[in-house]
Point group: C2
Chain length 256, copies 2
DNA sequence: AGATTGCGGATTGTTGACAATCTGCAATAT
DNA sequence: ATATTGCAGATTGTCAACAATCCGCAATCT
């Protein structure tokens, strides 16, 4: 096992006798973040992007070495990531990328449905014109992608659709909670790797109906449609898991 | 400023040559928790109990000294508490017990309403007999306390009522999210110190109606009633803030 | 007088070292 | 052959020291 080539260091050069003039914005931005927060962000990125597989073990020393940082900030980042639901800590054993079981995912889906319902209710009333334009554009692209049965292209569009609506709801607490829940569900989806192109037309129809409700400002309808959309997504996921489409459905990877 | 008398140490005696026999349960329980998790739990307790006032500054060295622990575990606990929404970190400045503004509280109330709605929907279907008995008993005590206009006694009953329902919903992810949200709201309520005895009868009537819906297993009704109960609580809070009952309403304490 | 600059103490950020625990494997015993 | 014991290396938990930053106050300048 070779030590990976040390990637770009996170460190914000401690001593900065460099005469190069920094614009004040740059200075403040760099000074704002501690090493811990940078490590946290980087690990979060690697986890949600799938670079770090579900269930993978995170070695303190290795990560510290790769990011050119001592173990302290890494440990602090671990504590934050645990609260965020992205990793699991086992005392004296190590930390692992969280594995979300089907049962957990089912529960999380319900929470997400409730939050998405509220998002619909609020967004229908508060969405701003430029946000509405973005949603329209996304749905338009969904149609194109759907005709091509391109599941890989559809996936990020789906995320973006819901992201814009969450923003349009104009409630920061709601958005923060929503993000956390979606992150956890992504952990599960990444593990199961189920992306059924068959469902794209159904999903797109859902999105179109939601968009229409938001356009009309019908908050009750938008709420109901979004809630049901999430629950239906869950059911479609169950079906896909029972009838594995082509690839293996559940690679029950354990910790390394 | 005298150094506070060092309270009981958290430390789980490193070397334990003590011959006293420990029951296996004790051993496992102590070994399970790292100092970090114990510090975290202790600080969380102090914050939600109000021992640490909203906005108070938490000094690493002081806390470490009081708990007989080095600064490392304290810093790790801070990171976890930040993600839990209980403290705010300012780089190179320190950590402070989070202050929840009225605007934030309004947003959080909406999130709580959505989660409580889901709790009602699920609890109406899944509540078990002994949980139902507990809810009945709580509502009964609420009536007694309400007749006495005893706001201090009513407050914990209110918490317990919702806690039991959250448990009855039988969804761990929901319960975890709900707890976090309620914690944040408690932060706000503790700051405003509004406990209006006038509202007890109204609140109790709400709870009774919710209980009836749950008994009937009417999930749609329970969902609606719980959602509206939370929103109405928020409105009552607004009224109480506008018409300060007796004591000063908003003691805008800044950091120490 | 009011604003600015320059210490000095206090506090936070980071690091490396040490202690404790776990894991895997080999040696031994049954 | 199987189970148990006892290392040795690797990994995590904790700590104390060092570096960097911030804050308040006095000295200085305009």
């Amino acid at each position: 096992m070779f030590p990976p080539p040390p990637s770009r260091p996170l460190r914000v050069a401690r001593k900065q006798p460099s005469p190069r003039t920094l614009h004040s914005a740059e200075i403040e931005l760099l000074q704002q973040h501690s090493l811990t927060s940078l490590v946290q962000r980087e690990l979060e990125r690697q986890i949600v992007s799938g670079e770090l597989a579900s269930g993978a073990k995170l070695n303190e020393a290795d990560i510290a070495g790769e990011l050119r940082v001592s173990r302290g900030p890494v440990r602090e980042a671990f504590r934050a990531l645990e609260q965020a639901g992205l990793v699991r800590l086992e005392k004296n054993r190590g930390v692992f990328v969280r594995q979300v079981s089907l049962e957990e995912a089912n529960e999380i889906y319900e929470v997400r449905a409730a939050l998405d319902g509220l998002i619909g209710r609020l967004a229908a009333r508060r969405i701003r014109p430029e946000q509405l334009a973005r949603v329209r554009a996304i749905v338009k692209r969904m149609h194109a992608v759907g005709r091509a049965r391109d599941a890989d292209a559809y996936f990020p569009l789906n995320l973006e659709f819901h992201e814009v609506l969450a923003e349009a709801a104009g409630n920061r607490a709601l958005r923060a909670n929503y993000r956390r829940v979606v992150n956890e569900l992504d952990l599960f989806r990444r593990e199961t790797l189920v992306r059924n192109a068959q469902n794209i037309p159904i999903s797109t129809r859902d999105h179109e109906a939601i968009l229409n409700a938001v356009v009309k400002g019908d908050s009750a309808l938008a709420e109901r449609l979004l809630f049901e959309h999430v629950i239906n997504s869950r059911e479609r996921l169950h079906l896909a898991l029972k009838n594995p489409p082509a690839r293996a459905p559940r690679s029950a990877r354990k910790a390394a």
